[in-house]
Subunit: 236 residues, 2 copies
Amino acid sequence: MATPGTRAGDADRLSEVAAALAAPVRAAIACQLLSGTAHTGRELARHVGVAPSTASEHLGRLLDAGLLTVEVQGRHRYYRLADADVAVLLERMLTALPDPPTTTAPPGPRLPAAMAFARSCYDHLAGRLGVALHDRLVELDAVRVGPDAVTLTEGGVAVLGGMGVVVARERTRPLVRQCLDWSQRRHHLAGTAGARLLDTLLERRWLQRSATRPRELRLSRSGREGLRAHLGIELP
Amino acid sequence: MATPGTRAGDADRLSEVAAALAAPVRAAIACQLLSGTAHTGRELARHVGVAPSTASEHLGRLLDAGLLTVEVQGRHRYYRLADADVAVLLERMLTALPDPPTTTAPPGPRLPAAMAFARSCYDHLAGRLGVALHDRLVELDAVRVGPDAVTLTEGGVAVLGGMGVVVARERTRPLVRQCLDWSQRRHHLAGTAGARLLDTLLERRWLQRSATRPRELRLSRSGREGLRAHLGIELP
DNA sequence: GCGACCGTTCGGTCCGCGCCGAACGACCGC
DNA sequence: GCGGTCGTTCGGCGCGGACCGAACGGTCGC
């Protein structure tokens, strides 16, 4: 299943790694080492602007955390990232992190209190309904979630076809893709198939756009019945 | 370019986010919120086992770091992850982090103390020197790294030719290939070109095999100068 | 061997942080 | 209005971490 359900140990390990990177000096060292090259302690100390003894302590902590490896060569000790996993982790953090420090945006238009049951996300379906559909399609093996890619199965093409959704492979984007729902923090269905699905549901009047907030969607009676008939989903 | 070249600000922001997650309590809160549901401060306090006042401080820090959003509703304050980016970041960290805490591996058969500066890997060059050569050749566009394949460019044939390395296409294997260096966590050059390169360097006495450990190589003075002259590499 | 250098360890200072209990303001239900 | 609940802020305690300079063991070059 897509939702991991983090267990206690995860949080502990997470905090360990985070603590190892919490000091600006250590974060700078890690970034420096991210180039893949090895560096001596003194080089790193000079680069981040601390005394060699201080750098040594930081390097020790990074070693303890398992983020670094040291290689002794003569009177030098070359530090490098422990392995590819660590490099991947840092890269992911660096690419994914930038939440700007939340410059005050609190007033604004005030969110509609409750997350919409169904809403559109770009050109596909999101919200609780989007997640429910995604999960059901996975359950039916219409969409198959692999370690790297998500694919639409033969059966999936048939299931969608039965609902009047015609999917044609496009050059520009994958047939199916998972999109993380901010409100649900679960995946819903994106990609060409996701877009065609939304189109069809709107055409068939299974979904209708709200007059006041065009991104919000309402499930009609026929839509509820249609989804139950075609996919076996019970909706409130 | 493969190496992203992280800048100073990156490291700072990295340490900020890391510091926000460094405390076990905060990491636990973040994991709890990763389910996507909002929680009140007291709920979170109870869940992670601290006093409400303590939780409040932690929540304040997470807010400051931009990882959380709060939504006031009556006398309750519902905390949730700030946005999908944060969820993605946490997910990535949780999936990518597991560097096991470095289970003690010190005893063992004792590696030859220091990783060889240069060593042969089958029939081509590995170790730090192998990686340096590989990187430099990529930099010079002598070797071009594509998404699927690695190719030797026209210029690359010329560069190698200038060093006396004659490469001829063979039936049995690709001209160039990348070989992952276990000690360096970087690629070095393999394939026909890699083999011919090592041959030539040995013939020219730029490299010499160690008497005691034949796979280890020593870079001679002339080798150092030759590599600087032909490839512009500065070696220690 | 003798210096020169590299890196770690040690002692010491200081700041910040995590934790709590108590007090305070905000809000709900009655 | 009045208690009860929720959450924050405030003092206060104690620990751990960050930093440095000085001292110590290893290694290289001569």
